[in-house]
């Protein structure tokens, strides 16, 4: 492994084409698609200074919410910008033991997971058709979906709500899931189509020679190969569903069906005096999306890079 790193480093610093790699290292070079070990040098202090300012600006308000949950209302009123002193756990305990929180968490999870699965399954199927079949309407189909990117849910929300209600889906989780799948498709297709187009034709031919059908190729080769793109799309969909507010606000009317964003809003209007508990509730509500994002952060950034490169 150390030699591999070394090889990677030399390749980065010297002219790549004339570099004659020795036998152990040649497999692990950057141009072969391997990630170069991330042993970077320490940067310039100025770089750190500005980065830290940037990070502080981005993270402080979020930390304020989390730490605020550990304080009492008296602490918050007397010293709004202070740190918890002493640390108070009761707010978090209260939220953890309230059935409302768990109910809303479960609702949010159901909606987010179903939306994610729906978007990924439908998205990859139609992306495969657009990317790999040659037929008259493939361009039109792509145009149809990419036009959808221009029209976010907001502009259609009133008639969309009426539509959902006419289908008898008002105040049900399905009434959020289906529209979210529909509105998630454009983004998915825009990211996945270039991904699927980049799978070499030779693979498909080889697969056909081995007696696979188009669908067999789809099932055995495309889906595994498209996993990085699928992961990106899936996580983005999950997070945006987790955070979505407007559609649940329109569709859901009974508190049993509330998702977390609605719950946070309701909780903060019901307990407007109890700031500390609101903060505790709020910080617990954002945790799942944050964790999900931190774990898959590299995937998302990598997937976006692929999409931008097209």
């Amino acid at each position: 492994m150390t030699t591999a790193t070394l090889g990677a480093k030399t390749s980065r610093h010297s002219n790549r084409k004339n570099n004659k790699p020795n036998r152990q290292t040649k497999k692990y070079l950057k141009q072969h698609g391997y990630r170069v070990s991330s042993k970077s040098p320490w940067g310039n202090p100025i770089v750190y200074f500005f980065s830290l300012i940037l990070v502080a600006i981005c993270v402080t308000p979020v930390l304020y919410i989390i730490f605020g949950g550990f304080r009492t209302n008296a602490q918050i009123t007397n010293d709004p910008a202070g740190m918890p002193n002493p640390w108070e756990v009761s707010n978090y305990v209260d939220v953890f033991t309230s059935p409302t929180f768990w109910q809303e968490l479960a609702n949010s999870l159901i909606v987010a997971v179903c939306t994610m699965v729906g978007v990924v399954v439908l998205g990859i199927m139609v992306s495969f058709v657009i990317a790999r079949y040659h037929f008259k309407y493939s361009k039109a189909m792509y145009a149809l979906f990419s036009a959808g990117l221009m029209f976010p849910m907001t502009v259609a929300i009133t008639p969309l709500y009426l539509m959902v209600r006419n289908l008898g889906l008002a105040n049900s989780l399905l009434g959020i899931i289906l529209p979210q799948i529909a509105f998630g498709l454009p983004q998915t297709i825009i990211i996945l189509v270039p991904f699927l187009q980049s799978i070499p034709l030779e693979l498909e031919e080889a697969c056909m020679l081995d007696g696979c059908s188009r669908l067999g190729f789809f099932w055995r080769m495309v889906i595994p190969l498209a996993m990085p793109g699928v992961a990106t799309v899936g996580i983005l969909t999950f997070v945006s569903s987790w955070n979505s507010y407007m559609l649940p606000l329109f569709v859901l009317s009974s508190e049993n069906n509330y998702t977390l964003p609605l719950g946070v809003q309701m909780f903060s209007s019901q307990h407007s005096v109890d700031t500390a508990k609101v903060l505790a509730f709020t910080s617990l509500a954002m945790l799942p999306a944050l964790i999900c994002f931190t774990i898959f952060q590299k995937r998302i950034v990598g997937g976006l890079t692929g999409a931008v490169k097209g």
């Binding site: 036998r23 310039n44 009133t158 034709l201 999306a289």
Partner: protein, 339 residues
């Protein structure tokens, strides 16, 4: 022979149908149809019960005229456009600078990249709740200002300041996304260019000006498009921080908050649909104009190059295979020399 070809084609069409029908049905049903229905509902004065033609009264274009003449809606359009342009001006340059900063190779860069993405991942509701507490008259921000000797500012209620507060919160929320997009764009710029520039004696800023910025232009254009579309539908943050009714007196109402308040809030579904359609048309005009004058350059290039690209890829693969072979031979030779 002919028959088998035909059945192959039929099979092909069948596959296309099975794979794409579910997505198209759900897309048409929940995206396209509501927009068309909205245009129809917008012609009626209707409270949302039954069907508009039975339970509502046909008023023609009355709803549209009322909406466009309503000074509150005009103000909301004005705020939305201010936010849209303000976000571009504030976030664009900052995002490029921050991306340049984070594109340097240094320890801890990955962590910093994750952290600046945090505001983007946290939901609008949570961000809104947090900021509305921070920015209260007796909140943390004012306390910090007081402690360094500055007077308190009424961030949320003062109608002269509120819109700038909103712009700041929005920039805070979405700049992480812009930075990540720019970073992705920067990383697809070949490093050879910088090496060549270095050989020619270019300074850091010269390189950024003549290499990074021009090559980042497509990313910038796409980001600007996404940002504009996002600004046009701004709703959650305003609704959470300012609430349904305060937003217009604080001067931060947007087209979407107006639509929700007048449409669903007042159960005037006909009117709400008309406003939705107006927002839709405004967004579409902006999107099309932008696409025509700005994005098209990228798309034209992309379409023309698509065919070339496949050929080039094939050639590239062949070349690489050859290079690999050569490298292997060379490595083998090297080893034998060492031995």
């Amino acid at each position: 022979m002919k028959k088998s070809k035909n059945s192959g084609k039929a099979r092909n069409n069948f596959e296309i149908f099975v794979l794409s029908a579910p997505a198209i049905i759900i897309f048409v049903c929940f995206v396209i149809l509501p927009i068309i229905l909205g245009a129809y509902y917008g012609l009626y004065k209707w409270k949302g019960f039954g069907s508009p033609s039975v339970n509502g009264t046909f008023v023609g274009l009355h709803n549209y005229i009322v909406a466009l003449k309503d000074p509150e809606f005009q103000a909301a359009i004005g705020h939305t456009f201010l936010i849209m342009i303000g976000s571009l001006i504030v976030q664009g340059p900052l995002a490029v600078l921050f991306a340049l900063l984070l594109n340097q190779k240094f320890k801890g860069r990955g962590l910093i990249r994750t952290l600046i993405f945090v505001p983007y991942v946290v939901s609008e509701v949570i961000v809104g709740t947090g900021w509305s507490l921070l920015l209260q008259k007796t909140g943390a921000v004012n306390q910090i200002l007081n402690s360094i000797g500055l007077p308190s500012i009424d961030w949320l209620a003062d109608s002269k300041i509120a819109i700038w507060t909103l712009l700041a919160v929005i920039s805070w929320k979405y700049i992480g996304f812009a930075v990540i997009l720019m970073l992705a764009g920067m990383q697809s710029i070949p490093e050879d260019l910088y090496e060549a520039a270095k050989v020619d004696g270019a300074s850091f800023w010269q390189m950024q000006k003549s290499i990074t910025l021009p090559l980042l232009a497509p990313t910038l254009r796409i980001w600007a498009f996404l940002s504009m579309i996002g600004s046009l539908q701004l709703f959650d943050l305003v609704y959470i921080i300012w609430g349904e009714y305060v937003s217009s007196t604080a001067g931060v109402s947007t087209m979407a908050t107006y639509m929700v308040r007048e449409g669903r809030g007042a159960s005037n579904y006909g009117y709400g649909s008309a406003v939705a359609l107006i927002i839709f048309v405004i967004s579409m005009v902006i999107a099309l104009v932008y696409q025509h004058f700005v994005l098209n350059r990228d798309l034209d290039g992309a379409l023309a190059e698509e065919k070339k690209l496949n050929k080039r890829k094939a050639r590239e693969l062949k070349r690489r295979a050859k290079e690999n072979e050569l490298a292997q031979i060379a490595a083998a030779e090297d080893e034998s020399v060492v031995k």
